[in-house]
């Protein structure tokens, strides 16, 4: 080959390769840029159905375990409460089961503090005390209606002097009393938000402190955008723009304690509209006339000044309430937190009844009025598991504290609740507790109450133990939740109820079962005959396994049954309930209303030792790892404070200092403080973080139900020394610039 042809050939080759390179063949070559499997090689896990016990809502969950370790908690898709979803606190439970501060050994208080004792000795000590107590003991839990309470109830329930108490969320009794207004048995009101087109939320922070944030979340989603052509509209009335209020279309800053007045005023307009439009309702017309007479005093023009809003706003709430039927009214913490809570709840329920009558074809608000076949079963399950509605709430707590003061109890069992921390200063629980000779705390972590107890029993985490649970809040169907061990106990813990059973057996008391598992099985067997839709061909054992796979049993029978009109007697009685008493306040001479509130993450303080929950930004303030007090920027300016400045909030019962977070969504005469902070003995993450707002609260009670009026407190606020860096996720200027997204 001569040089010339070599050059020619190479020229041809070069141009060919250039042309070739211009084509898109590179797409067909496996690119090394793409990582194999995109870097993910998932393993299979085992999923177990159980019940979340972070709060008492009773959400069914499924837990993924890999190699015997719990990895992820998800909602149980077939469960009527969780509907396949889970909340932040539930998700974070995998963090508490592997928490380094979990209690690992039973501890008895001696002269020099707690001493570790073996499980055998713990059983001995307790059984000895059982014998000595002779039934003079109390059982206190967080209001859970579960296996543990059922076991205790079956052992001691018949004995004189035994008291079981549920330290449930504040306002529980008021809600129950309000829910009972139209029904013949106590239960929580259950408005059907799912199918509503228009909803008025009377201080109902349903996503933060409601009976089940997950259930309410699902309902809200359905209401808002669940239907093709309808966008559900919500209005929130209350003194603080909570994260629930944030999703509502309108916020009405009503003065504290006046929500009942607003409800009655709306009801007045609604009744007027019904009468003037001659709407065909099943309600007797003379009942309507009677109500209209009673409601005359609540004409919007008359109450507008008290409600600090123009009268037309009330009309504009009432008109869609009729026009956009079905509509619902939901009452919450801002209603039950005041001394006139039950009265206000009655007014709200009255609205619901009207709404049902207007839109009766579409709504199942008043399932409580249904004489459904399962109603009896529901009640019997509740009673079988000890802490029923009557046993729960603040009134019962007061009874307990009085009893402890008087020395009625020689022994107490406190299970998974922290009353020393989360009851108001006015109740003086800690002092009373010290008068009880022997207290057993069943807990996962050392907390304020466990520290005061004589014996601390480390319980299984709810992912490790057996239980059966009847949720307080049931969406129209009876539910029996089953809780099964999805993982082996991670540390050397024993089930609290097992220990009680063992000790009772040793004390020669009559025990319902040899172990909790057996008790749970027993309960399933007991109610099996009544469980509608239960497959009859299964043996007891198989049926139990069948339920475990589902996470429990619930009925789906009555979903779409039409609701009958309330009995006339109920309707007639209602006229006496339509009243709005003036709210009363503890420390009325002080200038500011105190607005304690639950946050999404902290619960009543249980979440404080969980790193995930501490680091999750609060929805409204976006603060992390931090305690704060919210006040209107105008109030802050008047006090001469800016964000991060410390203020001292004081009442007759105590005082706290907290950094200020100015927030536009709060009334200028209200200061809001989150609860659940300020632990003094709850592990490294929680202890010393903020202060406990409960120390400010007096013991004011609802005049009707005896519930703790936890927002009936007025306080002084003054500037204090010091500043704190606010650990906020949102930038203080940027948070007002959301318009860049053109949402």
């Amino acid at each position: 080959m001569d040089r010339r042809s070599f050059l020619k050939l190479s020229g041809v080759a070069a141009s060919a390769s250039v042309v070739g390179a211009c084509s898109r063949t590179s797409q067909n070559v496996i690119s090394f840029v793409e990582a194999p499997n995109d870097g993910a090689n998932p393993v299979d896990g085992d999923w177990f159905a159980t019940t979340c016990r972070e709060c008492n809502a009773g959400c069914g969950v499924i837990v993924r375990t890999v190699n015997g370790r719990a990895k992820k908690i998800e909602g149980n898709a077939i469960h009527p409460i969780s509907r396949g979803k889970a909340c932040a606190r539930s998700q974070a439970a995998v963090q508490t089961v592997y928490h380094p501060e979990r209690l690992t050994t039973p501890m008895l208080k001696g002269a020099g503090g707690f001493e570790s004792i073996g499980w055998d000795k713990a059983v001995d000590v307790i059984s000895q005390r059982f014998t000595e107590a002779e039934g003079k003991l109390f059982y206190l839990n967080n209001g859970a209606n579960d296996a543990s309470s059922g076991i205790v109830n079956e052992i001691f329930g018949k004995m004189d002097g035994f008291l079981n108490v549920g330290n449930s969320e504040p306002g529980f009794e008021s809600l129950v009393a309000g829910g009972a207004a139209l029904a013949d048995s106590p239960r929580l009101p259950f408005p059907d938000l799912d199918h509503a087109q228009f909803a008025i939320l009377f201080g109902a922070d349903i996503f933060e402190s409601g009976p089940s944030p997950v259930f309410w979340g699902g309902s809200f989603g359905e209401c808002r955008r669940g239907r093709a052509s309808v966008r559900g509209r919500l209005v929130y009335a209350g003194s603080r723009l909570s994260s629930t209020a944030a999703v509502c279309d309108l916020w009405l800053p009503v003065p504290p304690g006046k929500l009942g007045l607003l409800a009655l005023s709306v009801a007045q307009v609604v009744v007027d509209i019904i009468i003037s439009r001659k709407l065909a309702l099943t309600i007797p017309r003379n009942a309507l006339g009677r109500w209209s007479e009673v409601l005359k005093d609540y004409d919007p023009e008359k109450v507008a000044a008290q409600l600090e809003m123009p009268a037309e706003y009330i009309h504009k709430l009432a008109i869609p309430f009729v026009d956009e039927s079905p509509s619902v009214a939901i009452a919450g913490a801002d209603v039950t937190g005041h001394v006139n809570g039950v009265a206000a709840l009655d007014a709200v329920e009255f609205l619901n009844m009207l709404s049902y009558e207007i839109g009766r074809e579409k709504l199942r608000i008043h399932e409580r009025l249904t004489p459904e076949p399962n109603e009896g079963l529901k009640r019997r399950i509740t009673q079988a598991l000890g802490v029923d509605h009557e046993a729960q709430g603040y009134k019962r707590m007061v009874e307990l504290v009085d009893g402890m003061e008087q020395g009625k109890y020689s022994m107490g069992i406190i299970s998974h609740t922290n009353p020393v921390f989360d009851t108001p200063a006015g109740l003086k629980f800690k002092d009373a507790m010290s008068k009880v000779g022997f207290t057993v705390a069943v807990a996962n972590f050392m907390d304020e109450t466990a520290a005061e107890a004589t014996l601390v029993l480390p319980d299984h985490h709810w992912l490790e133990g057996w239980s059966v649970q009847n949720p307080n809040f049931v969406p129209g169907v009876p539910v029996l939740n089953l809780q099964q061990p999805v993982i082996r106990p991670f540390v050397d813990t024993r089930s609290g109820s097992d220990i009680i059973l063992a000790a009772a057996a040793a004390a020669k008391l009559k025990t319902p079962a040899a172990s909790t598992e057996e008790f749970v099985q027993g309960k399933v067997k007991q109610f099996r005959a009544e469980m509608l839709g239960a497959p009859a061909y299964l043996g007891d054992e198989e049926f139990f396994r069948h339920l475990l796979r589902n996470g429990g049993w619930w009925s789906s029978e009555i979903e779409n049954e039409p609701t009958p009109t309330p009995p006339d007697s109920v309707l007639w009685e209602y006229r006496d309930k339509l009243k709005a008493p003036e709210p009363e306040f503890d420390g009325a001479e002080n200038p500011f209303y105190l607005h304690p509130f639950q946050t999404v993450h902290m619960g009543r303080g249980q979440g404080a030792n969980n790193g995930w929950l501490q680091e999750a930004p609060d929805p409204i303030t976006t603060l992390m790892w931090q305690f704060w007090v919210e006040m209107n920027p105008a109030t802050a300016a008047k006090l001469g404070v800016v964000e991060g400045d410390m203020v001292k909030i004081s009442s007759a019962h105590g005082s706290i200092t907290a950094p200020v977070f100015p927030y536009k969504g709060i009334r200028p005469d209200v200061v809001a403080v989150p609860i659940g902070y300020g632990h003094t003995n709850y592990g490294k993450l929680a202890t010393g973080r903020g202060e406990n707002v409960m120390t400010l609260l007096g013991a004011k009670q609802d005049t009707d139900s005896g519930a703790h009026a936890w927002r009936a407190q007025k306080v002084k606020v003054e500037k204090a020394q010091g500043r704190m860096k606010m650990l906020r996720n949102a930038h203080p200027e940027g948070e007002y610039k959301g318009e860049v997204f053109q949402l």
Binding site: D38, P42, A88, R231, P619, W625
Partner: protein, 251 residues
């Protein structure tokens, strides 16, 4: 013969012609109530580290999914908005082109993948992300005994010095596809749910294959409410939002 314009389009953000799947997420802002369940769900699924009080003060929290909260108006006409924000999986991702080591690339299914092993931590991608959804491991993430028992084996724990971000739960997509393959079928709508979508109590988050015209996400993405954030930047995100309704119920 394809026109030039068409070929550019195909290459850039239309995965339809080449692939069965093009993953997309739709977030209904009208449904989001800011509860933060998705944030914790994501943290549990993806081994996202907690950084502690001190680092949070320096704004170094690692939540792959955060809920942005914006306030509008003056008292009493205040409106608070929530905006869940995670990696938008842009078809024209600004982060991908600037990475010198291909630590982030676009996979054929429309996902923006982060390969931790390749990352050297120049943080250029973070600078070029208009949504600010990329997070850097400033220190070694701490999962001390016994907390490490919770770690999800499907997701690697990141070393200090690498970038990380929402993967739309790549491992779940993988598992969903593997299962479908084992069963000899295509992935059905609803088979795969990222942790946030699965946990969201209000059902604000929907995930699916936008190439499937019967899928929920396709229908939602073609409803009148669908918007992309920073649309004017031309990033063509795979995550789309459904606009909220009007604020005023009254007047």
């Amino acid at each position: 013969m394809r026109t030039l314009k068409e070929s550019i389009k195909v290459k850039s953000f239309n995965y339809k012609k080449h692939n069965d799947y093009s993953w997309s997420m739709i977030i209904d802002l009208d449904r989001c109530n800011g509860c933060g369940a998705c944030v914790i769900g994501c943290q549990a699924e993806n081994n996202v580290a907690t950084v502690g009080e001190e680092e949070v003060g320096k704004k170094r929290n690692m939540h792959w999914l955060r809920i942005e909260r914006y306030i509008e108006g003056e008292y009493p006409h205040v409106k608070v908005r929530f905006l869940p924000m995670m990696c938008q999986h842009c078809a024209q991702a600004p982060c991908e082109s600037v990475c010198p080591v291909y630590a982030t690339y676009h996979n054929p299914e429309g996902l923006n993948v982060q390969v931790y092993n390749r990352c050297i931590g120049t943080r250029f991608c973070g600078n070029n992300c208009p949504y600010s959804v990329r997070y850097f491991n400033w220190f070694d993430s701490s999962f001390p005994e016994p907390v490490n028992n919770q770690l999800n084996p499907d997701v690697s724990v990141r070393e200090r010095g690498v970038m990380e971000k929402c993967s739309l739960c790549m491992q779940r997509i993988r598992r969903g596809k593997d299962t479908a393959k084992d069963e000899g079928r295509e992935v059905q709508d609803g088979d795969i749910q990222p942790a946030c979508a699965q946990t969201c109590p209000t059902g604000a988050i929907t995930f699916g294959n936008i190439n499937d015209h019967e899928s929920k996400v396709y229908k939602m993405a073609h409803s009148g409410r669908a918007i992309s954030l920073f649309e004017e930047k031309g990033t063509h995100p795979a995550v789309k939002y459904l606009k909220g309704g009007t604020n005023d119920v009254i007047g």
